[in-house]
């Protein structure tokens, strides 16, 4: 059944061998040393400050949606950084490699530029995969995780344990792609793969296998998360939170997760069939023996198109929260916003062929998909107009978050219009596989990045209790926008001039000046990254001065999450809020009810922490690693162990624990007192969750060093 792999294979180590570690590569070898050293410093630091218990109890075993969301965002930001480095390397290679002849750096082993072609191939493949699935998706999922339960008045997601599982499986995928830097190499075939080059005969290394299993793990994690979001919004809303009062961000989260739930299985099948071809010798996508190369492209983009709407809809939702807050107006056209979200989700399902118009399905098929693609511009246009009308005659505050949101609108405009151009097969045939397409989708993806930065600045005070530095947020915005303009404006032109994608040697010297402009753009991006890091440093340094003392951090916020204390306690709402209107917080503020407290409290039921999700996540990493290197005993053992852990967890169950009403009243009083206090001792260390803040297991016993058991007089079920 199993194919014979080209190259050595042993039962103990599979295809692993010392030769697979690139210790002669002039870039990777030093990088490895740097990472090892950084890791040692990190571990030493954590040990020295004695924080392992804290990390284990509060973060690694948590099922709290807010902390899981924060970990998702941290994961996403780290991968955004790595993807950015990949992009930087690509830009530099093209800038250096441009021109005729053999102009490469021999010392690096390159014929053109400074990267050998097989290294460049891995970089653009990793860049695409990381940015879409391991940076953008975790950032969005993280933000949805934090905000959606708060916006519907719930205390957690419907399945807290499953939530944790999704995070750790995604982390396993991240580890898998990161380890591909140093053990073996990554796929050279682009982020979405081409048949038949990904077949074993043409890609005999492990790169494509790394790619397959990383994607499979991410798909699994995201599918589990989508089930969670949908069940939460359907079943866990607070009383009075009718569908007509749901905030727009939650609506877009619902439509996005419907897309995720319905489309990720297609990806899992497409990749599994590639795996079958590579591992079992089947003929799904081979060039002979009855296989069909184009079937792969079809199955992949069946997922691929709904996926891009899965990432953009939450971004639209974030814009719909930030813009009304800083225009001091409700969102214009609430109903059409909601309908447009679902129209986009629905139409996104019938457009996938526009990714391969040139494959030859013929005019009838191309026409249907072309018209459907253009149709999707209508609900998107409705949204853009609604945002514009929200801004119109509003009392605008051009805070950093607002700048990012408005910038996102401009990028959406350019990306959307070029998308409409690409929807027309006649144009598409001209620019297919050119960098015009690359520039188009980077406009869209950067729209998402802008929306994410806007949302992070907007919601940061709610979670951490202090605002990020406004000035540096704005500096970062302008630098980032300048970089975007400098990198992608030339790229549109280069696309029209005929530059194709993925060139390690852009051979036409006439393109040279444009590559230099793009390289300047990259340096501006580097400055914006530095501005980001400096913003974080300054914000944390000045957190006492930037403390937020009210539930409504910006003064003009509108939706339910701004009813919670700042920072949000682990139970979210001490008493379940009763919803009276759309934009509940705006309604309460206008009627003067923001200071009204509940007159009595009830006991609440919270889930326990568990390490099982972390263990299963780690085991899925081992399964992926074992499959990649064909270490069968490792794969089988990890799989069986993971199943055993799942069954063990199922048998044990989790009754949770109950916090009695008197304790709830006490914790609520403390949380509100902390919110109002100016005393710097009261400010939580490092933000909203460490040390003295109200956390599940250290809430009431400040004298105790923090035990593993819940508060003393809470009852275990």
């Amino acid at each position: 059944m199993l194919v014979n792999v080209p190259g050595p294979w042993s039962p103990l180590l599979g295809r692993l061998a010392l030769s697979e570690i690139p210790y002669t590569n002039p870039i990777l070898a030093p990088l490895f040393i740097v990472i090892v050293l950084a890791g040692i410093v990190l571990i030493a630091g954590v040990t020295y400050y004695g924080k392992w218990g804290y990390l284990w109890k509060e973060w690694f075993t948590t099922v709290d949606h807010k902390k899981l969301g924060i970990m998702y965002i941290i994961l996403g930001l780290i991968m955004l950084f790595r993807g950015f480095i990949d992009g930087l390397m690509m830009r530099t290679q093209q800038a250096l490699g441009d021109g005729p002849g053999d102009n490469g750096m021999k010392v690096m082993g390159a014929i053109h530029g400074y990267l050998a072609p097989f290294h460049f191939g891995q970089i653009y493949s990793a860049h695409g995969l990381i940015m879409i699935l391991l940076a953008a998706t975790p950032l969005l999922v993280g933000l949805m995780n934090i905000i959606v339960p708060l916006q519907i008045g719930a205390r957690d997601m419907a399945y807290p344990y499953l939530n944790a599982l999704g995070l750790w499986i995604t982390t396993a995928a991240v580890f898998l792609i990161m380890i591909s830097l140093f053990v073996g190499d990554f796929s050279h075939n682009g982020w979405f793969g081409y048949a038949p080059i990904f077949e074993l005969a043409y890609s005999p290394g492990v790169g494509v296998d790394y790619w397959i299993w990383t994607l499979e793990l991410v798909a699994l994690g995201t599918t589990l998360g989508s089930i969670n979001f949908l069940a939460t919004v359907v079943k866990m809303r607070a009383p009075g939170m009718t569908w007509g009062r749901l905030p727009v961000f939650t609506w877009t989260a619902v439509s996005a997760n419907i897309i995720a739930l319905t489309s990720f299985p297609c990806l899992q099948v497409a990749l599994a069939l590639v795996g079958a071809d590579r591992y079992l010798g089947t003929h799904f996508f081979t060039a002979g023996f009855g296989g069909n190369l184009m079937l792969y492209t079809n199955l992949f983009w069946l997922w691929g198109h709904p996926e891009v709407y899965f990432v953009i809809l939450p971004a639209f939702g974030m814009l719909s929260e930030v813009i009304p807050a800083f225009s001091e107006k409700p969102i214009f056209g609430y109903i059409t916003m909601v309908l447009a979200s679902f129209a986009i989700a629905g139409v996104s399902w019938i457009v996938w062929l526009h990714h391969f118009f040139t494959m030859g399905m013929g005019p009838y098929v191309s026409t249907e998909f072309s018209i459907a693609t253009m149709l999707v511009g209508i609900p998107t246009g409705v949204k853009v107009f609604n945002w514009a009308f929200t801004l119109y005659r509003g009392r605008l505050t051009f805070s950093a978050a607002m700048l990012w949101s408005i910038g996102a609108l401009f990028l959406l405009l350019i990306g959307g219009l070029t998308g409409m151009m690409l929807a027309i097969p006649a144009i598409n045939y001209m620019v297919h596989n050119s960098v015009f397409v690359v520039a188009h989708f980077h406009m869209m993806l950067l729209c998402i990045v802008y929306a994410v930065f806007s949302a992070i600045i907007f919601w940061f005070p709610k979670i951490y209790g202090f605002k990020l530095n406004e000035a540096w947020g704005k500096i970062m915005f302008w630098l980032f926008s300048a970089g975007t303009f400098l990198v992608f404006f030339p790229m549109f032109m280069l696309g029209f001039m005929g530059e194709t994608r993925r060139l390690d040697w852009p051979f036409n010297p006439q393109w040279g000046p444009w590559f230099d402009v793009q390289e300047i753009g990259i340096f501006v991006y580097i400055l914006s990254v530095l501005a980001f890091l400096w913003m974080l440093y300054v914000s944390i340094r000045d957190r006492h001065a930037n403390r937020v003392h009210t539930a409504d951090a910006w003064g003009t916020s509108r939706s339910l999450e701004w009813l919670t204390d700042t920072p949000v306690p682990f139970y979210n709402f001490a008493m379940v809020p009763h919803i009276n209107a759309l934009d509940e917080v705006a309604w309460r503020r206008e009627h003067g009810f923001m200071d009204k407290k509940p007159d009595h409290f009830k006991a609440i039921h919270m889930p326990n922490n568990t390490p099982i999700a972390l263990y299963i996540g780690a085991l899925t990493f081992l399964v992926g690693f074992g499959l990649t290197w064909r270490v069968w005993w490792l794969t089988l053992a990890s799989l069986i162990l993971a199943v055993i852990l799942m069954i063990y967890r199922s048998n044990k169950g989790d009754p949770g624990y109950i916090i009695p009403a008197e304790k709830m009243e006490e914790m609520d009083r403390e949380s509100k007192a902390r919110m109002l206090s100016d005393d710097s001792h009261q400010v939580p260390h490092g933000g909203g969750f460490s040390g003295g803040t109200v956390t599940a297991y250290t809430a009431l016993d400040r004298d105790a060093s923090g035990s593993l058991t819940p508060p003393n007089d809470s009852r275990h079920l």
């Binding site: 719930a154 599918t223 069940a231 299985p265 297609c266 089947t282 023996f289 079937l295 069946l302 009810f593």
Partner: protein, 211 residues
Amino acid sequence: MHAQDKVVDPNEVVLWSDDYEGHDVISTRTFGFWMYVLSDGMLFATLFAAYGVLSYSHSYYTGPTPAQFVAPWYTFIQTMALFLSVLAYGFAMTALKSGSKAGVVNGIIASILLGGVFLGLNIHDVLRMISIGVTPETSGGLSAFYALTQVHAAHIFIGLIWMLVMLYQIMRQGFTEDTVGRLISLRMFWQFQAVMWVFIYIFVYLWGYMS
């Protein structure tokens, strides 16, 4: 949409609620699991799409086509085994409604045995096919044939393991909120596998035999 127009009486307004209304743990769990089952259906749909593309005459290259190796009546017996297994599980669920532990346990055991028969028949069939040279590596069409049928069989296998776990949990814990929710989820999973099997039987086995 906005209640600002109505005059709001501060004494009458309800700002806080004692509890979430209708927070039914079992229906939350089973709804979530049903959504997973549907996404699983999407997995099968994609496999069917692949099968649709790979079931032309040229997809079988020079190798055997389903008309040459499918045994419809043998597969019909498999079908009956699966349907009977689903029926047995249905009896377990009605026993659950009346709270009869013995009824539930017996129903599940019968379901496991019949599901095991299905799986055994499937494995026997696969061995027979391999012995006559019908393997997934022969052609694209056969790869698709095997993918659909064996992915379904893998689901059945997982379902059987799950049933064994449920037997253990029912014996140990009885009918708690958790175990009842899982039994209902398992019912949906098992019945959905029967629905998938109808499609596989008709479109893969019978249609393949016809062509």
